[in-house]
């Protein structure tokens, strides 16, 4: 033992020479390994668990574990590419420029694909037409690709049943029916594709008795005919809403559904954004009976009955002509032309138009040629041609003329038609005389349909040649003259379908193998299209010398524009004779107008669950059409008290029987603000009978209630009778029950002006003093800014009184995400709502769940009426999670499932959520959504899955529909809360891009789905800390406010107050 005193010591025990320590220090292995004691037999014998027992336990344990592990646990394998395609990087989206075309509906798009499957439609900013915007219809179209009920192969009808055949057999069969003398009819809605039209021509060349019958169920034939007569050009003109300071619309819903709403909305909104330093904005006046989307965006609405529309146009013309010079037109309806209050308003309107000569634009949705000629004349005397209307870049989006259908029916009846090829048209559903059509159609020997899904007309065909979905096809479109657009496939055909152009080609060629023989290879139509463009489109430009580079550029951009100048339009029509032929004002007590809804079109979108579940922007109803009545309507046109406007029983509404044209239908009523007395309105496109499940028996089909006018054009209004039923609708699916935000009216039986909200809710200021919506007249912007600033600074003063100060700088570092929404730019078109559903895998829940207020939409568009109760203005407010920096939802969650990111995002952790719904209760904006039932079929047992509209499988239960899911976004299971995430997956992607490129994140790196969908640029998203960024710039406007600022939740979504430009002189 060494002397420890002189040595190195490591602790006090070294110094004290404690015997126990010395004992320990002297032995190298003071504590023997446990093995020694185990090896000791005596020890082992004594121990309660001996070695043998240990082995027994071990053996049993291992055996049991193996037994358990060998039970079949399903393994889902993700198989990596053996040879990875160059264009696909797993986890990285690829975008392809393409076009959404359905009849005349057009949108230039970018298709987002992930791992080779298209999952999302984005707007194409290169487009000269849609300017990067999209419509709800375009957004939803990607779901049609994955529709499990698409026609899956060619078929022939045998004994009233379709039997699958192969393409070769079909081609042979069809060809055998074609001979040189065959009377072939192609029945189609508007076709935008120049290359496809070339085939029609070729077909006509080969079979000279071929005719192409083009009609549009929502027809603009009157405009075509009027332009033929007035200008000698049967085309829709190029309306330039961006150049008009004064827009008047006679029942033309150009922001919602008329011709090219995405383009028009983008153009119109350019003059609607307000600069507070120089407050000025264009004016929009809409003359209509029911509240349309455009009407809801109007500064003034003039209410006229549908039968008064025509004479209102002539009346306005004469008043304008008196001011700017022009011959007066005969007014055949005399002094009864228009109702009294509308007359006064129209007089005032004439003054405004005259004052805005050259800067005004008058459009009409009327399908009466005579009315359209007067409109042309009116635009002519207002010098609109050359300023706000031109024929260069004329629109081709409606080319149909019902006259052709009438002729076709006559021919079919007489049995002279040998073959009808249906190119997506559905005349057995969407014609007023569809029954007559069906009867005549049966007399045609060969009836072929290109339809993608079964419809009413296709069901009567004897051959099916199903077309590819547009996302599986090559193609082109010319929506406006000189504006070309390409369609490229983003996925191989999912089924045994063939694109219709190719089918037609196969039937044209004498040689069966022609297409392939001609060296077109495995993408025959690609080569044909290329050749067509090389021959026809390429020569129109001079920028590119080589066709290859031209083609690659156009394919990349998706669009190509040739500037062309049309000769100045010279009006050569006879307005006077037209005016003398307009319809008489009806003396019927009630009139109905039928309108195209924003989502359903003419019914061709009825099979799309996303569009069915998209609330109608104005009525806020889903899954059906509803009869819009005046708010005071109770079945007998008696006055109803304002109290009833605040609906207190859920899911109930009255039913009414509507009788028009000796047909009747029982339709649920939705009282609508702004609906004219003694008129009702109802949307078209519902009540499909043969359609994929989502559209089946939703609503009522009202096409048969329309009729043809004297010119043989469809007239979208009728005299009618409305009788309230004693039964009530118990499944009224409306997502908003309270509709007003400060409307005023006169008290029953007196002239006293009252606050209607007060009457409804019994409390003064209970609505109007809420800091949710602000609105002001453009002339009062200065005062308004002062008022708003005062109110906001008071709120901020209150917020400074917090018990927990000192957190003001929390988000000053790094990113601080924020959104800005301009309520002046928002038209309420709901493209963002559908885009959000597509991007974020928001489930569709069906009508029953929506009427129980279980809808799942992360982004809704609140619609409030303000102003005069009988003729109100409307403000739309997109409402989604406000990502409060002081979020009330976060602190109440017992398990911290929702929390705040360092970048100001309110995050939702689905895995952690136990579903107490406390966060939803405590959300002042009520934007949190709970998975009440198993909407996504994520539960392990299928017993609680419900089909949404009578399908075989619940929505999203099959693997095909699930292909539309965004792989970056979790599919939520039953029992968890979900909500807007500010598209956190896109934020993450943008951050990674910026990081990879070693730079600061810029505006364009992150755009939310709602932002890219918006046709008017109302939504801007970005980093609030980036002072140069778009969102910071937008947030500087003194018109901005936060909704409910004074409750100190510190929201991150800023709204710009709604500024309107109402002319109160029109109200008198």
């Amino acid at each position: 033992m060494k002397d420890q005193h002189n040595n190195i010591w490591i602790g006090v025990q070294d110094k004290t020479n404690d015997p126990a320590f010395e004992e320990m220090a002297s032995q190298e292995f003071y504590e023997l390994p446990i093995v020694d004691s185990l090896a000791d037999d005596e020890f082992v014998e004594k121990s309660s668990t001996n070695r043998r027992d240990f082995l027994k336990y071990l053996g049993f344990g291992t055996g049991a574990a193996m037994l358990a592990a060998s039970c079949d646990i399903p393994v889902k394998k993700a198989i990596p590419y053996v040879v990875k395609p160059d264009s696909i990087v797993p986890g990285v989206a690829t975008y392809y420029a393409s076009s959404f075309v359905r009849g005349g509906d057009y949108c230039s798009i970018l298709v987002k694909t992930r791992e080779g499957r298209p999952i999302k439609i984005e707007g194409n900013p290169s487009s000269t037409i849609t300017q990067g915007g999209t419509s709800a219809r375009a957004q939803a179209s990607v779901l049609d690709l994955y529709n499990t009920e698409r026609l899956k192969s060619p078929a022939q009808k045998v004994d009233d049943k379709f039997e699958k055949i192969d393409w070769k057999a079909l081609d042979t069969a069809i060809r055998s029916k074609m001979s040189a003398g065959s009377n072939i009819r192609i029945v189609t809605n508007t076709v935008l594709s120049p290359s496809f039209k070339a085939y029609f021509q070729e077909l006509t060349n080969r079979y000279p008795n071929t005719k192409v019958v083009t009609y549009d169920p929502i027809s603009s034939a009157a405009i075509l005919r009027a332009n033929q007569e007035s200008f000698g050009d049967k085309v829709l003109p190029n309306y330039r809403f961006d150049k008009a300071q004064m827009v008047v619309s006679f029942d033309a819903d150009f922001l919602g559904s008329w011709i090219s709403p995405v383009e028009y909305a983008a153009d119109w909104v350019k003059n609607r954004k307000v600069d507070t330093k120089n407050p000025k904005m264009s004016r929009l006046v809409v003359v209509e009976n029911g509240m349309s989307l455009t009407g809801s965006n109007a500064d003034n609405r003039i209410k006229v009955k549908p039968s008064e529309q025509a004479s209102a146009v002539v009346f306005l013309y004469n008043k304008v002509a008196a001011l700017v010079g022009g011959t007066a037109l005969p007014e055949i309806n005399g002094s009864n032309a228009v109702n009294g209050s509308a007359q006064e308003a129209l007089k005032e309107l004439a003054k405004e138009l005259a004052a805005n000569k050259g800067k005004s634009l008058v459009v009409s949705g009327s399908n009466d040629t005579n009315v359209q000629i007067v409109i042309n004349k009116l635009n002519d005397i207002l010098s609109s041609y050359g300023n706000t209307i031109s024929f260069s870049g004329a629109s081709l989006q409606k080319q149909g003329d019902e006259g052709a259908v009438k002729e076709l029916i006559r021919e079919m009846k007489s049995g002279t038609v040998d073959m009808v090829i249906l190119n997506g048209a559905n005349p057995v559903y969407d014609l007023p005389n569809s029954a007559e059509f069906a009867e005549a159609f049966a007399k045609v020997g060969t009836r072929v349909s290109f339809a993608e899904t079964m419809d009413e007309t296709t069901a009567l065909c004897n051959f099916l040649a199903p077309d590819n979905n547009i996302l599986e096809s090559w193609g082109d479109a010319e929506p406006k003259r000189g504006h070309y657009s390409l369609i490229q496939p983003t996925i191989q055909p999912l089924y045994d379908t063939r694109q219709k152009e190719l089918s037609l080609l196969m039937w044209l060629s004498t040689n069966e193998e022609l297409a392939v023989d001609a060296g077109f290879g495995d993408q025959p139509y690609y080569n044909i299209l290329r050749n067509y463009w090389k021959a026809n489109i390429f020569p129109k430009q001079s920028q590119f010398i080589s066709f290859d580079s031209f083609w690659d550029t156009v394919l990349h951009d998706g669009v190509f524009h040739v500037a062309s100048e049309a000769a100045p339009a010279v009006f050569a029509g006879d307005a006077s004779s037209a005016a003398s032929k307009i319809n008489k004002v009806s003396s019927a007590e009630v009139e109905i107008n039928f309108y195209e809804t924003v989502n359903m079109g003419a019914g061709q979108y009825a099979g799309n669950p996303w569009l069915q579940e998209m609330p109608d922007p104005v009525n806020r109803t889903v899954w059906g059409n509803y009869l819009g009545t005046n708010i005071t309507f109770n079945g007998n046109n008696d006055y109803k008290s304002f109290k009833d406007l605040n609906q207190d029983s859920k899911g109930n509404t009255d039913l009414a029987e509507v009788t028009a044209n000796s047909l009747s239908a029982i339709i649920p009523i939705t009282p609508t603000f702004g609906q004219m007395d003694n008129t009702v309105s109802c949307g078209l496109g519902y009540g499909r009978t043969v359609v994929t499940s989502a559209g089946k028996d939703t609503g009522k089909n009202l096409f048969p209630m329309c009729r043809y006018n004297n010119d043989g054009l469809i007239q979208y209004w009728s005299e009618c009778e409305v009788t309230k039923q004693s039964e009530r609708e118990r499944e009224f699916a409306c997502v908003q029950y309270h509709h007003t935000m400060g409307v005023t009216g006169t008290k029953e039986g007196s002239e006293e002006v009252i606050n209607v909200d007060e009457e409804v809710l019994s409390y003064q200021g209970s609505l109007t003093d809420r800091s949710i919506i602000y609105n002001a007249h453009v002339d009062e912007v200065g005062d308004f800014v002062e008022k708003l600033t005062k109110k906001r600074s008071h709120a901020q003063y209150l917020n400074k009184k917090t018990l927990y100060p000192g957190h003001e700088d929390t988000f000053k570092m790094g990113h601080h995400w924020a959104m800005h929404i301009d309520l002046n730019a928002c038209t309420g078109c709901a493209a963002c709502t559908v885009a959000c559903m597509a991007e974020n895998n928001v489930p569709v829940v069906g009508k029953k769940e929506v009427y129980r207020h279980h809808e799942m939409t992360w982004l809704r568009i609140d619609r409030y009426f303000y102003g005069d109760v009988n003729n109100p203005n409307v403000v739309y407010q997109p409402m989604m999670c406000q990502h409060c920096d002081n979020a009330p939802c976060e602190n109440v969650c017992p398990v911290a499932a929702t929390n705040h990111s360092s970048e100001g995002l309110n995050q939702m952790t689905y895995n952690r959520c136990i579903g107490t719904r406390y966060c939803a209760n405590n959300c002042p904006y009520k934007v949190r959504r709970f998975n009440w039932l198993d909407y996504t079929t994520a539960d392990i047992w299928p017993a609680n899955e419900y089909p949404i509209n009578g399908e075989d499988l619940p929505f999203g239960a099959d693997n095909l529909t699930r292909m539309v899911l965004n792989p970056d976004v979790t599919v939520r299971s039953r029992g968890v809360i979900e909500k807007c995430s500010f598209c956190v997956q896109r934020i993450q992607e943008g951050k990674l891009t910026a990081k990879r490129e070693g730079r600061r994140l810029k505006d364009n790196d992150v755009k939310t789905a709602c932002q890219t969908a918006c046709p008017t640029g109302a939504i801007v998203f970005g980093d609030r800390n980036d002072k140069e960024g778009m969102v910071s710039k937008q947030m500087e406007s003194p018109l901005n406010y936060f909704a409910l600022e004074e409750i100190n939740v510190a929201p991150s979504v800023m709204y710009t107050a709604k500024i309107h430009n109402r002319n109160t002189k029109m109200d008198a």
Binding site: N646, H738, T740, P888
Partner: protein, 468 residues
């Protein structure tokens, strides 16, 4: 219980009971075969319980979508029932703990049953936070336990989490308190029993032999538990009220909620005690132990707390007006005159107006009036919770989101089920345990028995002596 009692004070034990008679009277219900009335009641209760269980299973199997809650109204009958039952569970502990500390002798007649009721009510209440969850199978997430997720802890800021602690603590302490009181009484039953019952009660009484040391420890434990339970009476409903008071929703965001909820809870708890005791004393013939004096005392508490609640309602309305805050003003206007006006009316009528008849002594002492009043109060208090929850949520900040709510049969079924659970337990309780605390009633016999106190004490004592 050594306080001096005024001879004018009403006796709390009638019928000139001797100690043995007390034992006989109170133990006998557990020794007889059940009466047809008991059997009928038990069948009904178990039927309700089974239906409730079926509804709960259906909810768990299908999802909360079987209820008619919606995107705007996230809580309805579930949390209404939760708060209602928790409220009912307040009287027991108040009687046993606070009244013990205040040396209120009349508590001895009713404390056992009231404590039992507390426990059963808390069980019913505790069901709802569980089944109202979207994913009940993950309900263990609310427990702060070390875990491998980080570890990921619960959110200590959340009032729902405070509820978890408050309710579980309350339940534990109430159960201990109740059981502690039962131990000597179980021993009494054991001493009278034979065979299996003897073994059973021997086990339940932990081998109590009645030694002085046992009594000493028992007294200390009772006092300690009373001390622990006293703050709980105030804290539980305070914390339940935080579920609402800490939110930002106008109509919930109110500082008055804690005292108002506690008063309401005592109010409804006493009403439920009255309902149960009036039936129990009649059926089990315990009129001598649960006297009209007891009933009157409880009616006084109901009158007091009912009036406190009424003042709270009026204060809310005043503050809403006085605040000048539109949302708050609208919220309260809407409560009284909005879509659910009838529930506000029911609440006001049952909770504030009807108890005022107890200013009249005749009504306070009327069994009939008391019984109906106790039912009224229970209905009124249920409405109060419904008003606070459903009416408030149905009309909050954004008019676009306003909605309406009516329960489905599943929600109603679950409520009926909890009534079934409550009564099933209570019926078993009256068969198994002495409904009145034997030991405690004996302890007050000399100071509050009718032989010793009250205007006719002298005569009664004589009579009693003659009998023996």
């Amino acid at each position: 219980m050594s306080a001096v009692v005024s001879p004018i004070r009403e006796p709390l034990v009638n019928g000139s009971k001797t100690y043995h008679q007390i034992t006989e009277d109170i133990c006998s219900p557990t020794e007889r075969t059940p009466s047809p009335a008991w059997i009928a009641a038990f069948i009904v209760a178990v039927a309700c319980l089974s239906f409730g269980v079926a509804c709960i299973l259906w909810t768990i199997w299908q999802g909360i979508g079987t209820w008619d809650l919606n995107r705007t109204i996230g809580w309805g009958w579930d949390i209404t029932n939760f708060v209602w039952w928790v409220g009912i569970g307040h009287a027991g502990t108040l009687i046993s703990a606070i009244l013990l500390l205040f040396r209120q002798k009349w508590r001895t007649g009713v404390n056992r049953a009231a404590e039992a009721m507390t426990i059963f009510a808390v069980i019913c209440a505790a069901l709802f936070p569980g089944i109202h969850m979207g994913r009940i199978w993950l309900s263990f997430f609310v427990l702060p336990y070390p875990n491998t997720r980080g570890p990921l802890w619960v959110n200590f800021n959340s009032p729902l989490l405070w509820d978890v602690f408050a309710i579980s603590t309350y339940f534990t302490v109430s159960l201990l308190f109740w059981y502690t009181g039962l131990v000597p009484d179980f021993a009494t039953v054991r001493d009278r029993a034979r065979g299996f019952r003897k073994k059973f009660y021997n086990f339940l009484s932990f081998g109590w032999t009645g030694k002085a040391k046992h009594w000493q420890r028992w007294e200390s434990l009772s006092l300690i538990l009373a001390g622990l339970a006293t703050p709980l009476v105030l804290s539980v409903h305070t914390i339940v009220s935080f579920d609402f008071a800490t939110s930002v929703i106008p109509g919930w965001h109110t500082t008055i909620f804690p005292p108002y909820f506690v008063a309401g809870a005592i109010f409804s708890g006493f009403a439920m005690v009255q309902t149960l005791m009036l039936i129990t004393r009649k059926v089990l013939k315990l009129e001598d132990y649960i006297t009209v004096a007891h009933i009157e005392s409880m009616n006084k508490v109901i009158l007091l707390t009912g009036t406190i609640v009424g003042v709270a309602y009026l204060t809310e309305l005043f503050i809403a007006w006085y605040s000048g805050y539109v949302y708050e003003q609208f919220a309260f206007y809407n409560r009284a005159a909005g879509i659910y006006w009838w529930s506000y009316f029911g609440m006001m009528a049952c909770n504030v107006l009807s108890p005022q008849i107890f200013w009249v002594k005749k009504f306070r002492r009327s069994i009939f009036v008391t019984f109906f009043m106790s039912i009224f109060v229970n209905i009124g208090m249920w409405f109060e919770r419904f008003v606070i929850i459903a009416t408030t949520l149905a009309r909050d900040y954004l008019p676009s989101a306003w909605s309406y709510y009516v329960p489905t049969w599943v929600e109603i079924g679950i409520f009926i089920g909890t009534l079934g659970i409550f009564f099933t337990f209570y019926l078993i309780f009256v068969r198994v345990a002495p409904v009145v605390a034997i030991a405690e009633i004996k302890s007050i016999l000399k100071s509050a028995g009718d032989q010793y106190t009250g205007p006719e004490a002298h005569r009664k004592k004589k009579e009693a002596e003659q009998v023996h």
